[in-house]
Amino acid sequence: MLVHLPVLQVIVPLMAAPLCLILKRVQLVWLFTLLVSGIAFLISVLLLQQVMSSGTIIYELGGWEAPWGIEYRIDKLNAFLLLIITGISTVVLFAAQTSIEKEISQDKHTVFYVLYLLSLTGMLGIVATGDAFNVFVFLEISSLSAYALIALGKDRRALWAAYQYLIMGTIGATFILIGIGLMYQMTGTLNMEDLSQRLPEVAQTRTVFTAYAFVIVGICLKLAMFPLHLWLPNAYAYAPSIVTAFFAATATKVAIYLLIRFTFSVFGLSFSFTTLPLQIIFMALGMLGIFVASTTAIYQTNVKHLFAYSSIAQIGYMIVGFSISSVAGLTATLLHLFNHALMKSALFLALGAVMYRIGSVQLSQFQGLGRQMPLTMAAIVIGGLSLIGVPLTVGFVSKWYLLMALIENGWWPLAVLVLLGSLLAIVYVWRIVEMAYFKPSLATHANVKEAPISFLIPIWILVFANIYFGIDTRLGVQVAQAASESLFAVSVSDITIIEDSL
């Protein structure tokens, strides 16, 4: 069975989704979903182990070899991503049953879990596959379920947010489809590995340039990169808390993965960064994203909005790391990807707990909550510290690597700017802390108690992970470094091929 792990990773949650619909009984469905997600997590752990010890795994679906059939290609990068997604999904699901009880009407519970599993499937599929068109198909699975999940939110603005997300998401997906079509037209293949070998021959054509532009813009729409981020804050703010916690930690990460995959593996480093002024564009947009989004976050009155803008800012950090286009920079991005998933899922889950108790996440409602929900608020504070990048938290590790990467390239001013960006994070985190600990409790909240245990366990698992990986940095750094090195190894060999052909 071990040889089949790559496909099982995707198939298990996929097949579980229709099974959920058949099971019907809500309690049972939750347990089942949790179990499935747990199994998926286990598989991803095994996969990562296998990849780290014996290198890239290739799985040919249908027994047809690569450019003719679809293949799954698990290397260090996507094994890492699979681990993040399944891990977060499992932890978040612990709290799901309690949380949706108050946020989603009873008759939609089964459907919620089905959509959740489908969304998980979609993300895993995008990450695992080695076929460009297959990416599009799974992208649509995850997006469609995401639209529906967001629309399940209680507030009517959730509907509007879902609609906006749908429009943007579909444009993005169609752009990617156009890009894939152009690539296919120039090379005749859809397999990523095959593409990376055949693209250099035609790299100088205008068509490939257009293809690259469309793929990247499409991904950036999905990614909510700075000027294209407009759909994200509302979508995160009005979705059910569980959905927000899950998506904030995974959806944008998958998009970043795609960006890295297409840039480094498919088009190759030399094409992406030498024929285009990509470095400057991404660097500028990343920096702008950090500052604009952080500043906007400060003025938010809804805490979910606040953290949503903070997410956009964090995406900015990842983009900056990516645009350095060095092993160190990419390592920083991958680390931040992992770390940000940990922080944001903890934070949004804690917000879910607040939502569960007081039915709102307006900043003004946080008054005095530090005394009434001490454990939840403590989690938010630690998550916030991690967001700022205080030492001993994961946030520090990735920012440190980012700074190192910038300095390595001698880009001192940018390093300073990154640090300044972190100062903005202090401001918005402080606003919550101030509200929660230094204001008297609201009279209406007299009866508010600590969040139920089903919330506290997953929240604190994540918080401990935040601290643990902040202190013991080996696992994250090792995997991230190995992944980025392998990506650069591929890309460098790419360059030599070009030189040979010249």
Binding site: E140, L144, D155, L159, W160, L166, I167, G181, Q362
Partner: protein, 137 residues
């Protein structure tokens, strides 16, 4: 060259018309129609590239050796399905938006949202609200 690239150019024109509708029009249903045009133009692009001179449909018969490329056809079959799936979900959303807001014009929705922005009261949309909205509009 004009004949060789004619299809591609028309595709570009169609795409741009679709995109224009999506961005410039405020009516939600019109946007979906725009989206359909946009997607269909991509289908046309794929299908045009599969065409080969002197070829016929990729269903084997005796005495023919030149067939059009079947792979784009397969991809577009999938893409059409994805398109209808997206349309269905989008239309379902529109129905719910109409119930919750009483309108399907982007501007009016945004106006209503900005009015509620600072109140922390939830705009709960459930079945009981349909009545109210109906009366309002």
């Amino acid at each position: 060259m004009i004949m060789g690239l004619f299809n591609d150019w028309v595709v570009v024109v169609l795409m741009m018309i679709g995109l224009y509708i999506i961005i410039a029009h405020g009516n939600l249903i019109k946007k979906i129609v725009g989206l359909t045009i946009f997607q269909t133009s991509v289908f046309i692009f794929y299908i045009s590239m599969a065409k080969i001179d002197g070829g016929t449909a990729p269903i084997l018969v005796d005495g023919v050796t030149q067939y059009s490329n079947p792979l784009p056809h397969v991809l577009i079959l999938t893409a059409i399905v994805v398109g209808i799936a997206t349309t269905a979900v989008a239309l379902a959303l529109i129905v719910r938006i109409k119930e919750a807001y009483g309108t399907i014009e982007e501007e009016e929705i945004q106006e209503q949202d900005s009015q509620h922005k600072d109140s922390h009261k939830l705009n709960i949309h459930n079945s009981s609200e349909i009545n109210r909205d109906k009366k309002e509009c």
